[in-house]
């Protein structure tokens, strides 16, 4: 069978404030024509970079890449343009970005055809065909904000497939969808690809994609570490690189534990009582967090797992009082958040909760200590009190000799630790972390996991993650898919 994509020793290095970062570190890859290939891996493993290289949106720093028989390694901008124009359809990671908010669905699908000079009649027929194929024939005139997440993603597929590309590239196509929608989308993707006779490369960390993939390639730290071919469920084999070295093994999958459904217990740090969060109207709505009942005891290191779109971040936001449930009750640190208005919620967080999100908004020109002091100032600490607290907090996360360094001069792990110190310096009772190791390699993630595990005697930690290292270090884990299934199960 002909090879659609051949990557050999692909290296891609990005500049960054903290120094060059290698997104791909010698990746070898083979995808055959007509296959649906899935590239799986945690955040930061190089999936999106790989997709950009194959799409011709970027060039490798080293190595060789051939796509549909065309060597893209040294292709000019014009050649890459032509590559995308003639052979490739791309579905962006964030469907909100993939679709222009300024044109309705039908026009968005028709635009790639118009750009290729397809006559209007033919174009309209193709648009209608694709809209029917993705089940949205009645949504042709809808703008982006009038479509649900799943609908937007389906329109994004239609846009990418409109010019009948030989290769469809999808970046986290289910990344922002709930599980049920994700499954539907993946099936739609498979059907579309089959119907169009297109080769498809999907990069994701959503294991659901395995169900539709002919080939699954596991990435870690910028390399392919394992590969499965054939039917879903078959074993993934470690791969060897071009020099014959065996890639590091895949981490053992952790076992989800049963959700701790203990509503109403005073010793719980967080209680979610039949909580549900829906967005939008019924017609154009989506589910942020399906009905969930759970409790997290005080003092533990709890992780919340689940595929993208399963509601992990929504759960954290509900727990922190940054959002309110559509139904149900959220009790955080013994306080029913429904009783607090927005100002009171903010004061509640300032007094009792520390938060670290994925972006970790550190002020670039302040030193590590000044950043922590600023966090304390935000929480109402006087400057005189903030200095010793900041010093202690930084020492507590192992940054005792980094007080005066600015975030730009720190590694990703060190920046995470500054953010942790900033959150911990005020001695919160609950520490909420959103994908804390998303930008770290496996070694870094393991180090941070150990640090967090050591903290759980001081503070209750609630973190969302896909990272096996964190999951392994956690004292318990709430898997939202399992929770939802349990919640949905008939009583008795």
């Amino acid at each position: 069978m002909a090879e659609a994509i051949v990557g050999s020793g692909l290296i891609r290095i990005h500049p960054s404030p903290g120094g060059p970062v290698a997104a791909l570190r010698g990746l070898d890859l083979h995808v055959e024509v007509g296959e649906v290939a899935a590239v799986l891996g945690p955040s930061g493993s190089g999936k999106s970079t790989l997709l950009r290289l194959v799409a011709g949106l970027d060039r490798p720093s080293a190595g060789r890449l051939t796509v549909l028989g065309r060597d893209l390694t040294d292709a000019s901008d014009t050649e890459l343009d032509e590559h995308r124009r003639r052979r490739v359809g791309v579905v962006e990671q964030h469907y909100r970005r993939a679709l222009s908010p300024y044109v309705p669905a039908a026009e968005a699908i028709g635009l790639p055809l118009a750009l290729r000079g397809v006559p209007e009649t033919e174009r309209n027929a193709r648009v209608r065909e694709l809209l029917e194929r993705v089940g949205l024939a009645d949504r042709a005139g809808a703008y982006r904000h009038e479509l649900s997440g799943g609908e937007q993603q389906r329109i994004a597929f239609a846009v990418a497939l409109a010019p009948r590309p030989a290769l469809l590239l999808a970046d986290e196509p289910t990344g922002e969808l709930d599980g049920a929608t994700a499954e539907t989308i993946l099936e739609a993707l498979r059907d579309l690809v089959r119907a169009e006779g297109t080769t498809c490369l999907v990069v994701t960390h959503d294991e659901l994609v395995e169900r539709v993939a002919d080939r699954v390639i596991h990435l870690a730290d910028g390399r392919a570490v394992a590969e499965r071919r054939g039917r879903p469920g078959s074993e993934a084999r470690p791969v060897r690189d071009a020099q014959g070295w065996l890639a590091p093994p895949l981490p053992e999958p952790s076992t989800p534990v049963a959700p701790a459904i203990r509503p109403g217990l005073g010793a719980d740090a967080v209680v979610l009582d039949t909580v549900e969060r829906r967005y939008g109207t019924d017609a154009v709505g989506s589910v942020g967090l399906p009905r969930t009942t759970a409790a997290f005891r005080r003092g533990g290191f709890h992780v919340v797992t689940g595929p993208s779109g399963s509601g992990k971040t929504t759960l954290l936001r509900l727990v922190a009082g940054l959002d309110r449930p559509t139904d149900g009750r959220v009790v955080t640190l013994g306080t029913d958040l429904a009783d607090l208005d927005r100002d009171a919620l903010a004061r509640f967080r300032a007094a009792r909760i520390g938060m670290v999100d994925q972006v970790r908004d550190l002020v670039p020109f302040l030193t590590a200590r000044e950043n922590v002091e600023l966090g304390l100032a935000i929480r109402g600490f006087a400057p005189g009190d903030a200095r010793p607290r900041a010093t202690a907090a930084l020492e507590g996360v192992g940054l005792g000799d980094h007080f005066d360094r600015a975030p730009d001069g720190l590694s990703a792990g060190e920046r995470l630790r500054v953010a942790l110190a900033r959150a911990l310096a005020a001695d919160p009772e609950l520490l909420i972390l959103d994908e804390p190791t998303a930008a770290l390699d496996r070694a870094g993630a393991r180090a941070e996991a150990r640090l967090l595990a050591d903290l759980d005697d001081r503070v209750t930690i609630l973190a969302t993650t896909h990272d096996p290292a964190l999951i392994e270090a956690a004292s318990d884990r709430l898997d939202l898919v399992a929770t939802i299934a349990a919640s949905a199960a008939p009583a008795g």
């Binding site: 343009d81 995308r84 997440g149 509900l318 940054l322 903010a346 994925q358 000044e370 100032a377 929480r379």
Partner: protein, 1035 residues
């Protein structure tokens, strides 16, 4: 059917209607500013041309061909040439030709009469009869009816001279010819004045001649009876003012030149006069003023560019996302370029066309209002090929700037570096040019393309101010935020949010530096020019009124003596006598002498503090001179009261000499009474005293060379004699005096005066101070004498001294008058009176009184008139209105930019704000934070605008030597900052913007949680995270 990219861009504009509308409106405002300023310039130029030609209605602009002939022999030939040439060249600009003849003096030697005869064909159009009837047309030149041209009935025994036998002229009426037709400045005052009152009288003893008008130039020209009389033929054509405009002035210039050339080729005796010199001067002034308007225009261009970049930075991320989508769907590079170009071009084109259309409507309305031809004005400005090309160039530049700032492939830092390099280069070049060329005058500003300084100065200065601010601001903010840990949290966080990503804040500040700077500059420059007009008026009028009078019965020299008459104007009226004379300090060095009471100096509204380094009060103190015991007056021999003849007794031996006596009145007037030639052995000389001199004081006797005849052969003549006067106590002792009169000199006998040996303190111009001796002494030549001065201070300018590079001395009046009278007996009278009254009404009454006795033909320069005249000047109004338009446009763009910035900030900072809320900052504090951020930008932009505007006003005022009327400003302009006005406007902008920002912040940070506010859509995970993303849809 538009292509896919065009459709996409149009769809984007439709969906971002509010943002797009602000962009379009801003481009339109800037384009309208440029267009309106362009139109106003030509309208003002047209009004200036009309004003120059009409000259207030008193004069009729004409083209006149004249030719002197000693007789009538060549009349027909001259007439044919003149009329043909006028018809050929001036036909497009002039009305019907009027032929005239100006006959020269008709002297009747039998009587002391003197007439001019003038003849005009069909004079009824130009003649205004006050008595009698029109003369009938003279056919034969022998018996003609005539009209006496005279303002009033003759005050003398008038009869017509008989120039030649066979001519009979009969006066049938009295009247006046139009002052311009056909002879121009024909003296029609007379006949009056049977007795000479001094120099300048006509040979026949009349002050003004009788002028007799005959109907029929041809007859007089051909009449043999007049053949002995020299004459000037005149062909005069009135200019049709409606046909003369700035855009036709070139053709008129060419036609006039061709007329003169053709006639000169025919006969060099022809002379052509036309209003062209005055018109050229007016056009040059208008050109300079239009060149100056380029400053406003270039400021509009700079605002346009800045706004383009600002909007580009606002939409940069959104455009970047769209380009990324286009790349993803397989667009070609040219598609994406087309997208970027159209994204920038469509709003710019719509705004540009709308702005140009607005400008066209405004300019057409202004043209109609001012009486100009709107079509021609529009064709010469907004719709002309050059302005259209310039406008297209400007819009294109704005589009290119927007594209460069928007294009995702071009890093912002690179753009900033390029802008910095360009700005610094332009600054250095302009600085060098300004330093080497000095202030630009009218010539440099005139022409199609004015000095690059004018065009580049505003954008360069404002860019420089913005550059300095945006360079200094981030490190300054960082330093501030690190050192203000105790500051209220919203303040500190808002500073942090600006400091951490200063890109768009810098763009906002830069935009405000341009737009608010334009408003401040326009306000300040307008105030500066208006104040310049006030200053110039006050400078020229001394006090409220500056009065000069004709000579007295004793002397033809202009003077305001006796000054005591001015007391009749009222106790509440202050009248300050002033002596003005032009003199020299050394051969060839002209000096204007200003004698004034030092105490009055500090009351002069025309004296500005910047004229002298020392305060005027201090300088005035230095001018004070101790008064002598008898006061400052010229002493001499008192003449007996009632004696009408002056008799001087003496003993004389020597060559004949002429003796004059100087008789002064107590009122300060003086007369020279000729006592005739005295010869050896004579013992007395006498003459009749003028009436005013009776009872006066004999202040000097002057011996002159009686044989003085001009010519080189008489150089070196010496006349000697000895004289002993008798009975002239108070003037001269009875001792013999030896006389030696060398050629043109004279010997003056006078009494010792208080000013003898006195060195007068003087404030002098710096150039004169440099001529003074090391001890500050300076000799001033007055008449034949010398007045010794001592420099006690310098001043750059002195009121009423209107030279561009003035050389003057200011000395105390009373001692100066005595010193001048001592040096030049008979001289030393106050020449002007500067008057002020407490109210405008009293001032009007004073002006009325000055037209009546005892004041003599007072000529009044009124400060209020000068101000009104200058304020009404079209070029003044053009620059003032242009600046008003610039100020309004600047203000609108400031408000638009700030609101756009506030909206965009709330959108783009939402991630940061959400993070702060997650960390525990309540929404109420976040509202303050958002408000504080807008406030910082507003304040920062306000400061940038103020700095840029003031800097621009200072530099432009210094760089352009042009007042509101387009003339060299005397005294120089001083920058005026109407701080209250500016503060009110800027304060209004700040309040408006903060009110809107408060409303926006309240809307964003109200009761609903962040998640609830975003309930309409699923919230993406962080990264695009808890932000709304960079895309937005209005409404």
């Amino acid at each position: 059917m538009p292509g896919p990219i065009t459709s996409l861009v149009l769809a984007r504009l439709r969906r971002r209607a509010a943002t797009a509308a602000i962009s379009v409106a801003s481009v339109a405002a800037a384009a309208a500013l440029i267009g309106i300023v362009s139109g106003i310039g030509l309208i003002a130029a047209d009004a200036t041309v009309e004003r120059t030609l009409v000259a207030g209605g008193a004069e009729l602009p004409v083209v006149r061909v004249s030719r002197f002939s000693p007789s009538g022999a060549d009349h027909a030939e001259a007439r044919a040439s003149a009329e043909a040439a006028l018809d050929e060249h001036m036909g497009d600009f002039t009305g019907p030709l009027v032929a005239g003849l100006l006959g020269h003096e008709l002297a009747d030697l039998e009587a002391p009469v003197f007439e001019l005869i003038v003849a005009v064909d069909d004079p009824e159009t130009w003649l205004t009869l006050t008595e009698g009837r029109l003369p009938v047309h003279c056919e034969d030149g022998e018996r003609c009816e005539a009209v006496l041209l005279s303002e009033s009935a003759p005050d003398v025994d008038f009869r017509i001279a008989r120039p030649a036998p066979g001519v009979e002229l009969t006066i049938v009426g009295r009247g006046l010819l139009h002052p311009a037709m056909p002879f121009g400045d024909l003296d029609q005052r007379g006949p009056f004045g049977s007795r000479p009152i001094g120099g300048g009288e006509y040979q026949t003893g009349r002050s003004s001649p009788a002028v007799i008008l005959v109907n029929g130039a041809e007859a007089v020209a051909k009449a043999p009876a007049f053949d002995r009389t020299g004459r000037t033929y005149v062909w005069t054509a009135p200019l049709d003012v409606d046909r003369v405009h700035p855009w036709t002035a070139g053709a008129l210039r060419d036609a006039t030149a061709a007329l003169a050339r053709d006639l000169a080729a025919d006969d060099t005796a022809f002379t052509v006069t036309s209003p062209m010199p005055g018109l050229e001067a007016a056009l040059a002034r208008a050109d300079a003023a239009r060149g100056r308007l380029l400053i406003v225009g270039s400021l509009g261009v700079a605002i346009l560019l800045a706004f383009g970049v600002f909007v580009a930075l606002v939409i940069r991320e959104d455009v970047g996302a769209e380009v990324a989508r286009l790349r993803a769907v397989g667009s070609r590079r040219r598609d994406r370029i087309a997208f970027l170009v159209l994204e920038a071009t469509i709003p710019a084109a719509i705004g540009g066309i709308a702005g140009w259309a607005i400008a066209a409507v405004v300019v057409a309305a202004l043209s109609a209002w001012s009486g100009s031809d709107a079509g021609a004005i529009l064709a010469g400005t907004l719709l002309g090929p050059t302005p259209l090309a310039a406008a297209l160039l400007v819009i294109t530049a704005a589009i290119v700037a927007t594209i460069l700032a928007t294009a995702p492939g071009i890093p912002r830092a690179g753009g900033v570096r390029i802008a910095t390099a360009i700005t610094l280069t332009a600054t250095i070049m302009l600085g060098w040019q300004l330093a080497t060329s000095g202030p630009l005058g009218a010539p440099a500003l005139a022409g199609v393309i004015a000095s690059p300084i004018v065009v580049l100065l505003p954008p360069t200065l404002v860019f420089l101010a913005a550059l300095v601010l945006t360079t200094l601001l981030p490190p300054l903010l960082r330093a501030v935020t690190r050192r203000t840990t105790g500051a209220p949290l919203p303040i500190r966080l808002s500073l942090l949010s600006i400091a951490r990503d200063p890109g768009r804040p810098a763009a906002t500040v830069t935009l405000l530096a341009f737009s608010l700077g334009a408003m401040v500059f326009a306000t300040a420059w307008s105030a500066t020019l208006r104040q310049g007009n006030e200053d110039a008026a006050a400078y020229r009028s001394g006090l409220d009124l500056r009065v000069t009078e004709l000579g007295t019965a004793l002397s033809v020299a202009k003077s305001v003596v006796p000054v005591s008459r001015y007391e009749s104007l009222g106790d509440d009226v202050t009248a300050v006598p002033v002596f003005r004379e032009t003199s020299t300090t050394q051969p060839g060095a002209r000096v204007e002498i200003l004698g004034i009471d030092p105490a009055a100096l500090s009351t002069l509204p025309g004296w500005r503090a910047d004229f002298s380094s020392a305060p005027i009060g201090e300088l005035a103190d230095r001018l004070q001179v101790a008064e002598p015991s008898g006061g400052w007056r010229v002493t001499g021999h008192r003449l007996p009261t009632g004696v009408t003849d002056l008799e001087v007794r003496f003993r004389y031996s020597g060559q004949p000499v002429r003796l004059d006596a100087v008789v002064a009145t107590d009122g300060g007037d003086a007369a020279i009474v000729p006592l005739g030639t005295i010869r050896e052995g004579m013992t007395r000389a006498s003459a009749r005293l003028p009436d005013s001199g009776i009872g006066g004081q004999l202040t000097a006797l002057i011996f002159r060379n009686d044989q003085l005849i001009a010519g080189p052969q008489h150089q070196g003549d010496l006349v000697t004699g000895t004289v002993t006067f008798d009975g002239l106590d108070g003037l001269v002792a009875d001792d013999p005096i030896d006389l030696e009169i060398f050629t043109v000199s004279s010997v003056v006998i006078r009494a010792p005066q208080a000013s003898d040996g006195l060195v007068l303190p003087a404030i002098v111009s710096p150039n004169l101070a440099r001529d003074a001796a090391a001890d500050g002494s300076l000799d001033l030549h007055v008449g034949g004498g010398t007045v010794a001065l001592r420099v006690v201070g310098t001043a750059a300018w002195a009121p009423t001294v209107t030279d561009a590079d003035p050389r003057f001395v200011i000395v105390p009046l009373d001692p100066l008058l005595v010193a001048v009278a001592s040096a030049l007996p008979g001289a030393g009278r106050p020449t002007e009176m500067w008057i002020t009254a407490p109210t405008p009404q009293r001032l009007a009454e004073v002006r009325h009184a000055l037209g009546q006795a005892p004041f003599r033909f007072a000529e009044v320069t009124a400060r209020a008139d000068l101000v009104a005249e200058r304020a009404g000047d079209p070029l003044t109004q053009a620059i003032v209105w242009s600046l008003v338009v610039a100020a309004i446009a600047g203000l609108l763009l400031s408000v638009g930019g700030l609101i756009l910035g506030a909206v965009t900030d709330l959108r783009d900072e939402s991630g940061e704000l959400a993070d702060l809320e997650a960390q525990g900052i309540p929404p109420s504090s976040l509202r303050w934070h958002a408000l504080a951020r807008t406030a910082w930008l507003t304040i920062g932009g306000g400061i940038a605008g103020l700095v840029a505007g003031v800097l621009l006003a200072v530099v432009v005022t210094g760089a352009l030597a042009l007042d509101a009327e387009g003339r060299l400003p005397i005294p120089p302009l001083v920058v005026v900052l109407p701080l209250l006005q500016i503060a009110l406007v800027v304060g209004g902008v700040v309040v408006l913007v903060l009110t809107i920002a408060t409303w926006l912040a309240r809307r964003t940070y109200g009761r609903a949680t962040l998640g609830e506010r975003r309930g309409g859509v699923a919230v993406p995970p962080r990264g695009a995270a808890w932000t709304a993303g960079s895309e937005h849809v209005d409404g």
